[in-house]
């Protein structure tokens, strides 16, 4: 094992470094705030001779994903980075990448969607591509952004998976924030992540194949079933690869990580950078004698319902914290959590809290408020208002 190098870097630099250590062949990218530093760093690595790869400076995000698809189908390891409107623009191609089972990896600088235009953090961009068939990972801190990039390639390229993956780091809160990280040695990453060789063929004149066929009603549903099965078989493969990563690099990853949940009456379910603040809030509440715990989602797709049931099945209340909103229902994590428990004999009462949209800060007091509101519902034995927006400014609302 080579020594892990300590660095103090911004989130985008961490995901770019994770990508570099994964030795991508082709990186088509288009700049968009707040993920711009990713293509900048990749360009710099190439310019300085530190990375032997081809960067395509495409004219749009749609073409970025299209070129990733062409490169990946040719047998190249392809990755890109984007955010917000960029992910919305490439939405069409996300489904096509997944449908062709191409293990493309994308670093996402999670950002709100227009209108009004807003460059700051929330999860609406990647959450809105939930159904595209991509694996979705969310980082709490820069170290996770770096590690999850390497893990994403390894998981995506596993012959039992072959699905594209995105790694989300919150816009500005992580993308532009400097934190200490440990960078694995190149030879150790090479050992963990062998070169990509498509197991089922590629665009090769020696063995011609057609990619992206017309799927008529006689075939389409079965092909989609196959693709969905691949996603559904993924959790145990992710666990296996997370375990191997921990053995090699000493850092633990879980699809959901519980914190002080064993005896908790009420559990907060969070995703992304807010988890650090939530953990601090849990610690303070624990000191005050409150039986509260935290469950941090690292993998949103496939949704780890199995682990959520284990972690929160015995709790009285589950406060699901969403940094996204589906107008007309609630947050995405809430919908998935509710669905997870639908056929269980016992389920915690659930409340959904919408927070942090468009870069609105999330404070410890906000988590305490969510806890209190969930506790009230538990004590009353009913949830009167399932979805509540937290940290609203009454002056702006007037």
């Amino acid at each position: 094992m080579g020594e892990q190098k300590g660095l103090t870097i911004q989130g985008n630099m961490a995901t770019a470094l994770g990508a570099k250590l994964s030795r991508p062949d082709v990186i088509p990218a288009y700049p968009i705030t707040p993920s711009t530093l990713f293509p900048e760093k990749i360009s710099e690595y190439i310019a300085d001779g530190e990375l032997d790869a081809s960067m395509i400076r495409v004219e749009s995000e749609h073409s970025a994903m299209s070129a990733c698809i062409g490169a990946s189908a040719s047998g190249a390891r392809a990755c890109t980075a984007s955010a917000s409107q960029g992910i919305a623009l490439m939405h069409e191609m996300l489904f096509i990448a997944a449908g062709m089972r191409l293990p493309i990896v994308m670093a996402v600088g999670n950002r709100a969607l227009s209108a009004p235009i807003n460059i700051w953090a929330d999860h609406q961009d990647s959450i809105s591509s939930r159904d595209s068939g991509w694996l979705q990972f969310y980082a709490e801190k820069n170290q996770e952004g770096l590690d999850l990039m390497i893990l994403a390639f390894r998981i995506a390229e596993d012959e039992r998976v072959l699905l594209p993956a995105m790694v989300g780091i919150d816009g500005f809160v992580l993308t532009h924030t400097v934190e200490g990280v440990k960078a694995p040695a190149q030879e150790d990453v090479d050992d963990f992540l062998p070169p990509y060789e498509p197991p089922h063929g590629k665009l090769d004149p020696e063995e011609p194949m057609t990619f992206g066929s017309l799927g008529t009603p006689e075939y389409y549903q079965e092909l989609k079933y196959d693709q969905t099965q691949a996603m559904e078989n993924t959790p145990e493969i992710i666990d296996e690869i997370f375990d191997e990563f921990e053995e090699r690099f000493g850092r633990e990853y879980n699809r959901i990580t519980p914190y002080k949940c064993e005896d908790a009456d009420i559990i907060l379910l969070t995703m992304g950078s807010m988890s650090g603040t939530a953990r601090a809030a849990v610690d303070e509440m624990r000191e005050e004698g409150e039986k509260v715990g935290l469950a941090k989602l690292t993998v949103f797709r496939p949704f780890p319902g199995d682990l959520l049931k284990e972690i929160a099945g015995d709790a009285d209340g589950l406060a699901v914290v969403d940094r996204n909103i589906s107008p007309g229902f609630g947050g995405a994590v809430f919908a998935e959590s509710a669905g997870t428990f639908i056929n269980e004999n016992r389920s915690p009462l659930m409340k959904n809290f919408i927070v942090g949209l468009g870069g609105r800060e999330i404070f410890k007091r906000n988590f305490k408020e969510m806890y209190e509101k969930t506790k009230e519902a538990v004590e009353a034995g009913e949830v009167k208002k399932p979805v509540e927006w937290i940290n609203m400014d009454e002056d702006v609302m007037r």
């Binding site: 004219e59 749009s60 073409s63 070129a67 698809i69 190249a76 096509i96 004149p205 066929s213």
Partner: protein, 294 residues
Amino acid sequence: MMSENEEKELLASGHRMCAGCGEGTAMRAILKEAGPNSIATVATGCLEVTTTAYPQTAWEIPLIHAAFENAASVASGIEAALKQMDKKGETNILSFAGDGGTFDIGFQALSGMFERKHNVTHICLDNEAYMNTGIQRCSSTPYGASTTTSPSGKESIGEDRPKKPIARIAGAHDIPYAATATIAYIDDLKKKVNKALKADGPAFLHVFAPCPTGWRHGSDDTIELARLAVETGVFVLWEAEDGEICDIKITKKPKERKPVKEYLKKQRRFAHLTEEHIEKIQKEVDEKCEQYGF
């Protein structure tokens, strides 16, 4: 002139194109000229739908279809991947799209591919409307043509805009090769395919391919119409090498131009045109030919 690939069919028979489809004739010649050491992308459209229905394929070379507007971007990714992964650069990379996938929705991706100087040949199979979706007009549809979204009627002549000069616009990207061709002159088409593939950088080929279904002409008139388009000056065959878009070479100059009426009257999409309309079209064709120097 028999090329070494002459014997081998790279677009298998048994595809689902309409009888008399100009695209089939074009593709047969183009792929023969390109040969088996080629990789193709294809935009959504007639060519894709008629040749790739799972679990069959008519393609004897590797093909990828991704979406409608991005054949050139997907090709960019392939080209970069092959270059990066130490291929010798001998594989031809072809990007196919119809007129909709080239003139309209695919134009941005195409312009980007040209500007970045990928070694890709983009071939537009032009049948002058969105034929795959049912004959809707696009920016390639010529003045006076009746389509399902530019129908002729009491208040309408049909399409009321002129055809976009796509090959000149492509050439204006200073790419090493841009040309127009048609299925009526297969040798000329093949020669141009060859030059496009040999060019050091991006190339553009605009291939005029009549559509019996959309133009409403007899399926045995396809080649005849492609020839008449050239003989009347409606479609001008030219090429521009080494980015010399201001110095294009006319590759087929009719000795005596036939009246456009001969071309128009064979197609029911123009059946509603009055003598007056036809005169107007003739005048515009005359002016265009004058620009081209004949």
